[in-house]
Amino acid sequence: MNSSRTMAMDASTDPAVNEAVRNRTPVWRRRKTTYNYLALIPFVAFALFPLYIILITSIKSDQEIANLGQTPFWATGMTVDNYVYLAEKTAFFEDWLINTIIVSVASTVISVSIGILAAYALARLKFKGVEVFGIAVFVTYLVPQPLLFIPLIDVINFIDDIVPIRDTYWSLIITYPTFLTPFVIWLLLGYFKTIPVEVEECAYLDGCSRLGALRRVVLPMAMPGIICAVLFAFTLSWNEFLYSLVFIQAQEAKTIGVGVFTELIRGDVYYWGSLMAACFAGTIPIVVLYSFFMDYYVSGLTSGAIK
């Protein structure tokens, strides 16, 4: 099988073969492909336009940004000053970016780990109140953050009296799972229900325990859903603002969202160039992550929707 796949790959990379295949592709199919791509252009342009404006604004000088007489769609005098300002005058690369990565990775790992076990239990185990638990998880997910942050402050302060976690990213690593876990459970619950229980029963017959079957059989099959949950949890953590604002005021412990707000929005004075540079630099990790796992993400979203 491996050799046949290698042969197929060799054939696909052979220019002569490619040329032959192209020549054999019917005109109608090539035309259809062209139309498909043409039809996609407006949607792609619409989706990428904000990112484009962010990039263009980030490489403009302050003078050019202030000048409404010039086109906003192109930079005439390109500059990296805004990125230099970000690096030299703020803690963006030094602290905020690193803090955000640590918090997002840690809270995602914790939430997805808990979420997998909880969702599996709710999807498979039969116990009293399982339906109510499922609904409760969903309702928890609906509780807005501005309501939760007040009681959570008491929790964080209580822990802080014992181990100082206020003004450190640990306060976020502890609290982010409170809104990530219900979401992950809710997402994976639907996904686990789509995996045939018979496959698991086969694993039991082969000697697997419940957890063994989960690890060896269910999780590999649920990988698209899990990656989807990881991506979502990571993005939500990355973009979170309120908890980060309330639990952390120390400059060196801030995450990107709050740090950028603190340093680059000064009352009614907005440092537009640097703000856009921060937005662009802060978007790159998410874009990279999504570009690697896009297929999983899409299939994870759709597969969980049907039984």
Binding site: Q63, I153, N157, S209, R210, L242, E263
Partner: protein, 451 residues
């Protein structure tokens, strides 16, 4: 179910665990955590004396740098560590609310406008240092500021941020007009300049500027939102209706639709980009024009050179403008209350206040009489308005004091919203004022009971 804890091929992570072993391990871990909780002993490094201060990110970064320098200098002298934290001004209320809820946080906090009234129960009465500092500084010029609900001094007035009329002198000269002195002048000049593509820019939207400026317009027309007792809604008067009619005329004749969607930065952008001829704003618009070397469109001339400031226009009932009064207080739950008081006394010394005022480039307008005629303001004609504007500037809740109810009316943008409805003809001036009164009464009824 039994398979969960007793498996032929190993359980979780490939290690065999009986239910009994699992429970035993859990009990040990739980016991360990309980022991830590029971001691309640913070690590030694957390027990060092530290004075902490929370302020907003100042409009002029150099002001933050100078404040931090003074704070560190004080810490060095007092032999304690200090930490100054900053948050964006729009996010400060959430952080304050969090600290009050948890009864834990910074020692010294930036509490502006109505916050001393709102957080009266949680702020230390600092009447003693208020008196001392006021006596040393030639008296306070903002005597109603920083008061708690029982009349105690819950915060020190720090500085205020005023709203002069900011205008392009070249554009006004082009149409042969003089600098507007009254609101009628603003209307007349604004009409002519709008026709030339340079509108007036006053927010009628959810922004702080809209709240400050439009209160000033109302007061200049003899209207008021609340009576002198600070508790009785007194907005529904013929003067208020006239003021609403005037704002509608300003909007239709001198402004463009975009002001209905502006936030605090948009009037700055409009002025710096060369579009707007007049706005009402602190000096930040001018400072931004200087910082960005903004040019007059189509020329190589710096726009900052054409920007001037004058005291706010006069109306039928005189010259009045609302301003943000910034204060500084000490939490009752602060760990270092005495040290915090010492710092405030140190910070309000003449030399330190002087340095802060200079660092802020005049943005921090003084509340101590000895700085009212600071040389900085006479050194630059752009700042000439600053020595006079304090006479016409009032706080939120005027002619009463800034209260929690006044702050709520402010936070809910009740005035800008009803003005916008009137300006766009969705409500008649009379109906808009009646609606504002109804909304305000609801707020005051609830909060008068509570505070």
């Amino acid at each position: 179910m039994e398979k969960t804890t007793s498996t032929p091929k190993g359980g979780l992570l490939g290690q065999s665990r009986t239910r009994r072993e699992f429970l035993g391990t859990s009990a040990k871990v739980g016991g360990g955590i309980a022991a830590i909780l029971a001691t309640g002993q913070a690590p030694a490094y957390a027990q060092e004396r530290e004075l902490r201060m929370l302020v907003w990110s100042h409009f002029v970064p150099a002001s933050d740098e100078e404040l931090e320098r003074q704070f560190k200098e004080f810490g060095k002298q007092a032999g304690v560590s200090v930490r100054m934290d900053r948050v964006a001004h729009l996010q400060l209320p959430a952080v304050l609310a969090g600290e009050v809820q948890g009864q834990k946080g910074h020692d010294i906090v930036n509490v502006s406008n109505s916050n001393p009234h709102l957080y009266s129960d949680h702020l230390e009465d600092i009447s003693d240092i208020y008196g001392e500092i006021g006596a040393d500084g030639g008296g306070w010029t903002a005597e109603t500021m920083g008061k708690g609900r029982k009349g105690e001094q819950a915060a020190l007035p720090w500085y205020f941020i005023s709203f002069p009329l900011v205008f392009r002198k070249d554009l006004i000269a082009e149409i042969g007009e003089k600098v507007p002195d009254t609101w009628e002048d603003v209307h007349r000049v604004g009409m002519k300049l709008k026709a030339k593509g340079h509108p007036l820019g006053i927010q009628l939207a959810h922004s702080a500027d809209a709240n400050w400026i439009n209160r000033g317009i109302l007061w200049s027309h003899g209207a008021k939102l609340v009576a002198e007792d600070s508790r009785t809604v007194a907005v529904n008067t013929p003067e208020t209706v006239e003021a609403f009619k005037f704002v509608r005329a300003l909007y239709k004749d001198c402004m463009e639709q975009e002001v209905l969607a502006w936030d605090d930065r948009n009037n700055n952008v409009c002025m710096i980009s060369g579009k707007c001829s007049m706005i009402l704003n602190p000096i930040s618009a001018y400072r931004a024009a200087v910082r960005e070397n903004a040019l007059i469109p189509g020329t190589q001339n710096l726009i900052a050179e054409q920007i001037e400031h004058v005291i706010p226009p006069k109306g039928p009932a005189g010259r009045h403008m609302c301003a943000s009064f910034v204060g500084v207080g000490i939490w009752k739950f602060a760990k270092e209350k005495e040290l915090a008081k010492e710092f405030l006394k140190y910070h309000f010394q003449k030399d330190n206040q002087n340095r802060l005022l200079v660092a802020s480039k005049g943005y921090n307008q003084p509340v101590l009489a000895q700085f009212a005629d600071h040389p900085l303001y006479s050194s630059d004609p752009k700042y000439a308005f600053a020595t006079e504007i304090g006479k016409y500037t009032h706080s939120l809740g005027w002619p009463g004091v800034p209260t929690a109810a006044a702050q709520t009316v402010y936070d809910q943008y009740l005035l800008p919203d009803t003005l916008a409805e009137c300006a766009t003809d969705r409500l008649s001036p009379e109906d808009a004022v009646a609606k504002l009164e109804k909304q305000m009464k609801r707020v005051y009824k609830r909060l008068n009971r509570k505070y």
